[in-house]
Symmetry: C2
Subunit: 325 residues, 2 copies
């Protein structure tokens, strides 16, 4: 039986199948399936196919309860990338500035330390995790919940291009398959399946990222959650994971510890004394410009210069009028 | 041997003693100690004394490794208050608006559900915890790190008066003993010792509240920590506790669960539809007025009215220009 026929059948029927279905419909489909033509079409699109029964299939993914029949892959990295230590970084689409900041920083620091950052190319946490990894010049893998040829969401087409330039884009869905809500939980099992540990950065009480965490737990993979304020509904899901026994990820170093790795040589931002003062204050918690100026007794011009210096150094970020370190 | 002589000796020598010291100095002190005069002086100051060997001594405190020889007590409540289920609420003096908000809300909700809220009368988290309990018309106990007659810090003299009016103020130190830095960790063991569970609301990496947590753990009491943003140094201590296995306190209900209690009938704030919209937005996370007005498309006057309504209902609070629910 060709696993590729199975993937093509799933695409044609809009269904989710990981084992050959009994019954006439699939048998007839498999009989008339032209594998060679399908492979040629994939090649012309620059898409690789790694069947479950072949050596190129990622070992960690093969170990889950319901591994995909195969994965479609595009991007410049070799397939072996998926056998390197992978960390899942997932979370809310409509994340807070805090979540975005942490996802970006974790993506950067985990990739810098040599982990492959796996996420789902979604808006919010996923996108920031991929961007952070790219910023560090590290490798990142986007797992899609739609056909391998699609860039979904459309707003992330350019991000997908950058990921593909050095990393990989992965999907169990053949070219042409439309995104559908039920495909995202299925996609999440691939993220959890590739990753030795999955970190939920920010998630509401009912959230796809929590599904990923459940799937990871079921597969015996480590699940970590980033603590957040209990008054923020965007941290309700992550804080609940902590109550349920997930390990708290309070820094990228905590995540690396789960992999037995040390943080990459700490790139301490080399900044001037005024920027240093601003940074010290921001480590206390996020702060608006007015408040910073008042607390540090700095005039607007010098404060703006210090903040610009810190932003360029990647030491602080700004969102919704608040700076955070 | 009189335990009161021991407490008086500790006061006179500026030392910390829980057992009669060997040697001449204490022997001679005990010989000339006029217990009756001392007790009369206490009575004239409205101060009670509960010796370790007597029935009035709190059972939970008597179970710790180094219980005080006795406790001095002032306030209107009977001593039996200390044998009711007590929860320790502790944390940073220079807390954030987030920490203050949570301490106040926990103090209010835990006291409303019938727990005795025990804290240290310090600025920041301690003060907010006491205030919350008082707001709920509940009982609260302040444990001092100085003589029982002192109101320390001075800024909390009025708060101490309100606590004493319905609850208790407790110290192992006799009248006249000055506050000293080493007395605060000693005081913390009394908070941990009275409480069946201690909740650290907000704490830096090195913090007296973490000493309280360690002492509580050593005594086999439950330690809970409130998660906070990993980018805030004020949550570094609490998030570290979570990593070390402390239970996450994500709501007052989580704390009550540790006591086998249900939350008091949820007093849902009855507010108008506009206030409801503002509340919903603030449950997403703290927000400045400008941002609220923009996000909800409310003019300044109507927004101000909604916020005033919510503040009166105790549903939101404001600090440093940010509102939070």
């Amino acid at each position: 039986m060709s696993e590729l026929a199975l993937a093509a059948f799933a695409a044609e029927t809009g269904s989710h199948v990981v084992r050959p279905p009994h019954g006439e419909r699939f048998r007839r489909f498999a009989e008339r399936f032209d594998e060679r033509a399908f492979r040629e079409r994939l090649a012309s699109l620059g898409i690789r196919w790694a069947a479950r029964s072949t050596a190129g299939y990622p070992r960690a993914l093969g170990a889950i309860f319901d591994p995909p029949a195969g994965i479609f892959v595009r991007g410049e990295a070799p397939l072996e990338l998926l056998d390197r230590p992978c960390v899942g970084l997932v979370g809310a689409r409509s994340c807070s500035p805090y979540g975005a900041h942490v996802a970006r920083a974790f993506g950067r620091e985990l990739a810098a330390a040599g982990l492959v950052v796996v996420s789902g190319l979604a808006r919010g946490i996923d996108g920031e995790a991929h961007r952070g990894a790219l910023e560090a010049g590290g490798e990142t893998v986007a797992v899609l919940g739609c056909g391998i040829d699609r860039d979904y969401p459309a707003a992330h087409a350019e991000l997908a291009r950058r990921i593909a330039a050095t990393g990989l884009i992965v999907s169990e869905y053949a070219p042409g398959v439309e995104p559908a809500p039920w495909r995202f939980p299925a996609r999440n099992r691939i993220i959890a399946g590739l990753a030795a540990a999955t970190v939920v950065v920010e998630a509401r009480e009912r959230s796809g990222a929590l599904i990923t965490a459940d799937l990871a737990l079921e597969e015996g993979r480590e699940v970590m959650a980033v603590p957040g304020e209990i008054t923020s509904s965007l941290s309700a899901g992550t804080n609940r994971l902590l109550r349920q026994g997930a390990t708290a990820a309070t820094s990228a170093a905590d995540v690396l510890e789960a992999f037995g790795l040390e943080p990459a040589a700490a790139e301490q931002a080399q900044v001037g004394p005024e920027a240093e003062r601003v940074l010290t204050r921001l480590r206390e918690g996020p702060c608006a410009v007015d408040e910073l100026a008042r607390a540090l007794e700095l005039d607007a011009g010098r404060l703006a210069a210090a903040l610009a210096e810190l932003e360029l150094a990647g030491a602080v970020s700004e969102a919704a009028g608040l700076y955070r370190a």
